[in-house]
Amino acid sequence: MQVYVCVKHVPDTAANIKIKGENDYDTTGLKFVVNPYDEYGLEEAVRLVEKAGKGEVVIVTVGPAQAATTMRSALAMGATRGILVKTDDKFLDSRTASKALKAAIENDGAPDMIFTGKTSVDTEGSQVPYRVAKAFDFPVANEISALEVKNETATAEREIGGGAREVLEMSTPCVIGATKGLNEPRYPKFPDIMKAKKKEIKEFEPGDLGVDIPASNKGPLKLEPVPERSGAKMMQGNVRESVEELVQTLKDNKIL
């Protein structure tokens, strides 16, 4: 079984983002990780191949040279090898990224399944799984939190609001965008981390794969911090008094 997992190199979710200039951010000292949603896709891919008893899980990343470090942690989670399409563009648009992912996968082999995360936690585009699927003419299901693959049919579940769930059926090969709930990604052990250091990461320039990164691709026009509140007005008195003051204040401000 040949399974590909698209992995994005993103700033750690716990890190603060320091905005630089009008529309950039400072990566000095910023920790980068595997996009958290991609980890669920990776874990599912590794389990599928383990169950099949044969095949490989190939990580595909479009990102800077430093993304290789992030890819090592994905390899430590059980992937076989990696492919890195190099670009220094921090805000590569989803269309171009999807084209690069497609070209890299196609150049490597014939996928039985492709996994992605449901969205990336940096630019939050939420469209790469769909674009990659379209490029291959494969079915796609995104935001998947339960999956079963049997006899070339994939049955996938997604939450559609208020806890209700939609069950989708499609043939394989297909693209699955993963989210929390799909599985519990494994925590790599020391020997896995050591083994991952020796695993192969093939590097490509976009041009090697026939992918053109448009020069107009400059990311957002402006990046701003979300205004922080400057501290709460504390309600005074005993429980009853403070609650009454709160409700009255909310009423006065037409919040209730």
Binding site: Q127, R131, K134, K233
Partner: protein, 320 residues
């Protein structure tokens, strides 16, 4: 006048409230004409409701080959056909689970740029504002393409009444093949809960809630003010609440009018999912909890003492 197409979300033949803010956003500074699309047999009723906010045409969207609701692929294909048929400059939807799914498919079909989950749009400047880095920053992005696709975060734009005359129509896209993905089943929620991202008020319980059954206390309070109940990641990870209730990074991003956080310390990841709420109230027994530095109103106290009183006071105020 440029035309904005809008995919309306209906539930059992009724227009959901979150659509009205979307119509307001679609209309811009009344610089666009709004064509609304529904995929259920409720165009006449929808037209009555949507015309109050500015939708001048409501179209029942279908496909020639079968049921448009049998696959999100069919809905996306039909919208792609509608863009051409109605000569739309913009196509908008809600950034809900179904909306995100259809628009993801649509942008892939058209190979067109798409901006998901925006907070606001400026048609004159040709820009939209959306979250980057999971709610930590806001990015102003350029709208590109011959047709501009976007989804709007529910509750991000307040609905403004703007009554217009409206007409209804039908458009059956010439699509005969089925979708690549088929909806096999919809499993209803056992509790029939309100969807967090659509709720005007949210009351969230953190890890100190201690047990799944203790969320009942929050549900009682929520019922009085039509709120949805959320949970922090720590509470979900401890097994006290399902992931569908999680607010924050790796959970849901919400923008309600009022967000009441009970026993939530205020981790960066939690704030990432709720900081665009209009008003944030925190109830926490630790007066030094970081959440008090970043919210609007605070009560220092044990949520197990405060919340029942809050429920009672809200009920009294409501009855007045």
């Amino acid at each position: 006048m440029p035309k904005t197409g809008v995919l309306i979300e209906t539930e059992n033949g009724a227009v959901k409230n979150i659509n009205y803010g979307l119509i307001t956003a679609a209309l811009g500074n009344r610089e666009n004409e709004v064509v609304a699309f529904v995929t259920q047999d409720c165009a006449a009723k929808a037209a009555e409701e949507l015309s109050a906010y500015g939708a001048s045409r409501v179209v029942r969207l279908g496909v020639a080959g079968g049921d448009i609701n049998s696959s999100p692929d069919l809905c996306a294909k039909a919208l792609a056909a509608a863009i051409e048929e109605f000569d739309l400059k913009y196509m908008a939807g809600l950034a809900t689970a179904p909306g995100r799914d259809v628009f993801g498919r649509l942008c892939a079909i058209l190979d067109a740029p798409y901006v998901s989950d925006i907070q606001s749009i400026d048609y004159g400047a040709g820009t939209a504002v959306k979250s980057h880095f999971s709610g930590k920053t806001m990015a102003t992005v350029k709208l590109e393409g011959s047709v501009v696709l976007f989804t709007l975060r529910p509750n991000a734009v307040d609905p403004v009444e703007n009554r217009v005359d409206s007409e209804t129509a039908e458009f059956t896209a010439d699509i005969s093949e089925g979708g690549k993905v088929t909806v096999k089943e919809i499993k209803a929620s056992q509790q029939g809960r309100m969807e967090l991202t659509e709720a005007p008020v949210i009351i969230t319980g953190g890890r100190p809630i201690g047990a799944p059954e203790n969320y009942k206390m929050l549900e009682e309070c929520a019922e009085v003010i039509g709120a949805a109940v959320g949970a922090s990641r720590a509470s979900v990870d401890a097994g006290f609440a399902p992931h569908s209730m999680q607010v924050g990074q790796t959970g849901k991003t919400v923008s309600p009018n009022l967000y009441i956080a009970c026993g939530v310390s205020g981790a960066v990841q939690h704030f990432a999912g709720m900081k665009t709420s209009k008003v944030i109230v925190a109830i926490n027994n630790d007066k030094d909890a970081p959440i008090f530095e970043k919210c609007d109103y605070g009560i220092v106290g044990d949520m197990f003492e405060v919340v029942p009183v809050l429920t009672e006071v809200l009920r009294e105020f409501k009855d007045k």
